[in-house]
Symmetry: C2
Subunit: 218 residues, 2 copies
C-alpha cells in the first residue's frame, strides 16, 4: 500500500497544478499523467474519469480548510463575550488564504484552482460546492446574524455573497494585482491581505442598509 498511494498523490498534484493553470477543459489527462510521471491509464484506473479526478483534487484540500474554519469559529464561541464580526470574518477567510503559505498543502496553486473552478459553473460541480457551502454557510450565517442582529437576513445573504466574491477573486488572482500596482501590492503578504480583507469586509457588513432609491419598488 505504498506505491499505489504514491501514484495517486503524483496524479493529484499534477492535476491540481494543471487544472489551476489551464482550467478543467484546458488540461488534458495526457498532460497531467505525463507531468506526474505515470502512465495515462493510471488516471482512469485510480479515479475512474477526468471529472472524478477533479472532484478528488478539490475535496483533498477543501475538507481540512473547512475544518479549520469551523474550529476557529468554535473557539470564538468559547470566549466570554459575544463573537466579534472581525473574528467571524477571519475564521471564514484566513484558512483559505493561508493555504498560500503552506506549500506542503498545495499552496497558491490550489488557491488559483479553487478561485477558478468557483467561477466555472461546471454543472456537475455545483452539487459539490453547494454541499460544501451548506456545511460552512449553515454555521457562519447564524454567527453573522448574532454579530449583526439588526441586519435583515436577505441583506446578510447578499453580503455573504459579496464576501465570497472578494475571497474568490483574491484567491484566483495572485499576480495580476502586483503588475498593475507596479509592485506596490505584495500578493505574498498573506497576513497583510487577511488584515486588509477583514477590515474591508467588516465595514461592508456593518454598512447601513441602503433605502430603496428613487426608482420604483420593482
Amino acid at each position: 500500500m505504498k506505491a499505489p498511494d504514491k501514484t495517486r498523490k503524483a496524479i493529484l498534484d499534477a492535476a491540481e497544478l494543471l487544472f489551476a493553470e489551464r482550467g478543467y477543459e484546458g488540461a488534458s489527462l495526457r498532460q497531467i499523467t505525463s507531468t506526474a510521471g505515470v502512465n495515462i491509464a493510471a488516471a482512469n484506473y485510480h479515479f475512474g474519469s477526468k471529472e472524478e479526478l477533479l472532484r478528488a483534487t478539490l475535496t483533498r484540500r477543501i475538507g481540512p480548510v473547512n475544518e479549520e474554519r469551523l474550529e476557529m469559529l468554535a473557539e470564538l464561541g468559547e470566549r466570554r463575550s459575544a463573537p466579534k464580526l472581525e473574528g467571524i470574518l477571519e475564521a471564514l477567510v484566513a484558512p483559505a488564504l493561508r493555504l498560500s503559505r503552506d506549500q506542503k498543502r498545495g499552496g497558491r496553486v490550489f488557491m488559483k484552482l479553487l478561485g477558478r473552478i468557483f467561477a466555472d459553473p461546471g454543472e456537475r460541480l455545483q452539487a459539490l460546492f453547494l454541499e460544501q457551502f451548506d456545511q460552512i454557510g449553515g454555521r457562519f450565517m447564524p454567527a453573522f446574524q448574532r454579530a449583526l442582529p439588526k441586519l435583515p437576513p436577505v441583506e446578510l445573504m447578499w453580503r455573504m455573497h459579496f464576501v465570497i466574491g472578494v475571497m474568490a477573486h483574491t484567491m484566483a488572482d495572485t499576480q495580476k494585482l502586483k503588475h498593475i500596482s507596479r509592485g506596490a501590492c505584495d500578493p505574498d503578504d498573506t497576513e497583510g491581505i487577511v488584515r486588509r480583507m477583514v477590515a474591508f469586509l467588516a465595514a461592508g457588513m456593518r454598512a447601513p442598509v441602503a433605502p430603496e432609491g428613487k426608482g420604483g419598488v420593482k
Copy 2:
C-alpha cells in the same frame, strides 16, 4: 454588406452564449457555428481563429460599457461639489450590472462570460484586460483618491481589487445565490443589487486602515 454582417452577428451571439456557458476550451467552434446556423468555416473566415473570435466577443460589449462608465464619472465631476464615493462606485459598477437587463446588448449571458473569463488567466487575454483596465483604472483611481484623501494609495489599490472581486463574482453567478437563499435573493433585481453593492463597497472603502497585527512586520 448585409448578409456577411448577419453571419458575423450570428456567430458572435452564439459564441457569447457558449463561451459563457462552457468556457473557452469547453465550447467548440462546431457547437458555436451550428448554434449560429452557419457553416463552420465561416468562423475562421470572419474571425481568423477561435481566440480572435473570443477577443471579438469581448470587445463588442466591453467598449460601450467602459464608455458609459467614463460618462457617468465625467458627469459627477461637473457638479459643484466634489464627487461622492457612492457616485464613483456606482459609475464603476452599475454600467456592467445593467447589461443584465438589456437583453439586446447580450444581457446576462455576457455578464457570465465576462466574470468567467476574468477568473480565467488565459495568458493571451491578460493583455486585453490590462489595456482595458488602464483605461478605467487610470480614470477611477484619481477619483477615488480625491474622495478618500486620507487612504494610502497602496490600500486604495487593494480595495479596488476587492471591489472588482465583488463585481466579477456577482456578474459570473446569477442563479447560484437564488438557490442557496431559497429564492430570498432575486438576481434579476439589478437596481437592488447595485444599491446593495454600492452600500457594501462604500463602507468597505471608508473602513479605517487596519494596523499591522501582533504578527511581525514581515
